[in-house]
């Protein structure tokens, strides 16, 4: 809402007051706002207020060629753009009946897991910053940058790679990049004890995060919670294992869970997932040199490609939870409809509005960050 259109609610004399939390606030993730009604510092009700990042992706995609949308989709989620590219590409492949080469599948999994490591490092920093601990933020962003260097080497771009295209990937891996990625992973893993000292074993942090924004298993299931937030409630569901895509059924990894369902449990799950992603990446690094062959399957002319009519729902386990793309084709050169189900659409609106009441004002930012809510995914 533009400031000139905001009309403050006129309360009668009361112990309650309304507070706008965001869109410009250091404790809010992205451009997003929460309208809080407070009594003292206790939240009485909370309303999510989105739309500040609405760029109309779904509408624009209906006006672009199938291949042009490759440039649009990663922009839906800044911290974790690779799953957007991969899910869109896979949906188009499902519609077109394309089987992508094995090497492309392994490369895609590499990109996805590297992106997950990036997103989780970002998350550690974001969560710590909500408690006023900024060193973690600087460390997380700095370490993430090393993986962005690898992305830049592979794709030519650091964030919006536009690398995964329907049919495969845009180009093969540069010589020696797997060795360099391996070194970066060794470094990231070696940094974890330092993160532990500063953050994960820090009694202040543990006390601040324990019992905050607690979700029961029943609530998580009935409120549509997915991803690490669901696993923090004790449910070991992961799209990679339970609805596998690419080569995930050939990989060996665990599904970390916690049972407390609070902000601390959500963070612990992600710490363990970071290690699991490194474990997966090492398997990929060991296997990829043995997987030869092309990186793309034969495609029709992408500028005159009429994707067969039909509809598909492709899903991916992104760093934030279940990502879905529902794509409809009428057999034309452009999608008839693309619906993006970002995991944050549930976490940042539905779940946050229900977890907020009863919490204290200083915990609102922490609850939002612990859910890893990504507003651009909500606004699309």
């Amino acid at each position: 809402m533009r400031p000139e259109n905001y009309k403050p609610v006129q309360h009668s004399a009361s112990h309650e007051y309304e507070l706008y939390f965001g869109p410009n606030h250091p404790g809010i993730e992205g451009n997003y706002a929460l309208k809080c009604v407070l009594s003292g510092d206790v939240v009485q009700s909370l309303r999510a207020d989105g739309g500040y990042l609405h760029r109309g992706f779904e509408k624009i995609m209906e006006e672009r060629l199938w291949i042009q949308n490759v440039a649009l989709v990663p922009r839906i989620c800044v911290p974790d753009p690779v799953p957007m590219e991969e899910t869109y590409a896979r949906a188009v492949e499902m519609l077109g009946g394309l089987e992508i080469p094995k090497r492309a599948q392994w490369i895609r999994a590499l990109m996805l897991e590297a992106s997950r490591v990036c997103a989780h490092l970002f998350y550690f920093g974001g969560h710590a910053a909500t408690m006023g601990m900024y060193s973690n933020m600087f460390w997380g962003v700095t370490d993430r940058d090393l993986i962005l260097d690898i992305f830049e080497e592979i794709t030519g771009a650091r964030i919006y790679h536009m690398y995964i295209t329907p049919g495969g990937v845009r180009r093969d891996l540069p010589e020696g990049v797997l060795d360099r990625l391996s070194k970066v992973l060794d470094y990231v893993e070696s940094r974890l004890p330092e993160f532990d000292n500063l953050f994960f074993d820090n009694a202040v942090v543990i006390n601040r995060a324990t019992g905050v924004g607690t979700l029961t298993t029943e609530q998580a299931l009935s409120w549509g919670v997915t991803g690490p937030n669901l696993r923090a409630c004790g449910l070991p569901f992961d799209v990679r294992r339970d609805d596998p895509y690419l080569i995930y059924d050939e990989l060996d990894f665990d599904i970390p869970t916690e049972t407390a369902g609070d902000a601390w449990a959500r963070t612990l799950v992600r710490r363990e997932e970071l290690l699991q992603s490194i474990r997966i990446l090492r398997q990929i690094i060991a296997t990829l040199p043995k997987v030869g062959g092309p990186i793309r399957c034969a495609l029709p002319n992408p500028l005159a490609w009429n994707v067969p009519a039909g509809s598909v729902y492709a899903r991916t386990e992104s760093s934030k939870g279940e990502l879905g793309f529902f794509v409809v084709s009428k057999g034309g050169a452009k999608p008839w409809r693309v619906h993006v189900r970002g995991p944050s659409s549930m976490h940042a609106v539905h779940v946050l509005e229900r977890l907020g009441p009863g919490s204290r004002l200083e915990d609102v930012a922490q609850i939002m960050f612990s859910l890893d809510a990504c507003p651009p995914e909500v606004d699309r």
């Binding site: 739309g51 299931l221 009935s222 549509g224 569901f237 509809s311 729902y313 899903r315 529902f326 539905h350």
Partner: protein, 172 residues
Amino acid sequence: MNRELESLDAVFREMPDLKVEHTGPRRTRIQVEADALPTLLELLKGRAGYLHLSAISCVDWPDTEEFELVYHLWSYQVSNLISAHTRIPYDPGRYVSVYDLHAPAVYFERDIHEMFGVWFEGCPDQEPFILTEWQGPPPMRKSFDTVAYVNDTFEWREYQPEWANDPSGGKG
């Protein structure tokens, strides 16, 4: 066949008018009449463990003046995704909310109401969310022409900065 799959089969037997198609591994497409969809969702949830409403998608079909509503449901027990497709006419453009069965439906129904103009009876929240200051028609409808809207609403301005003509990018 395990107990959950038997239950799913029983649901299909109970609703013989469904058009069920297995479209791929762990994917089932169901075509269902609009008045039977809430019953289907209830049976799927109660008897076959389809607890997770992954999404509700809306598709505009102007040729037949219909909206297609697609309910994507996942069963944690049988690891299968059902996409239940139904169609409702433009006029009156109303449908029943499934909020009582799946609480997350409120988010998707609110979104569809905002973007397509479908009204969901029983949905507790259909307030504008993203387009709070939008006065025009629901923009995701095919009849909403974005280019025409831009031409009608904004003035085009010439923008040809010097650097755009300079192949060196201003570096001499």
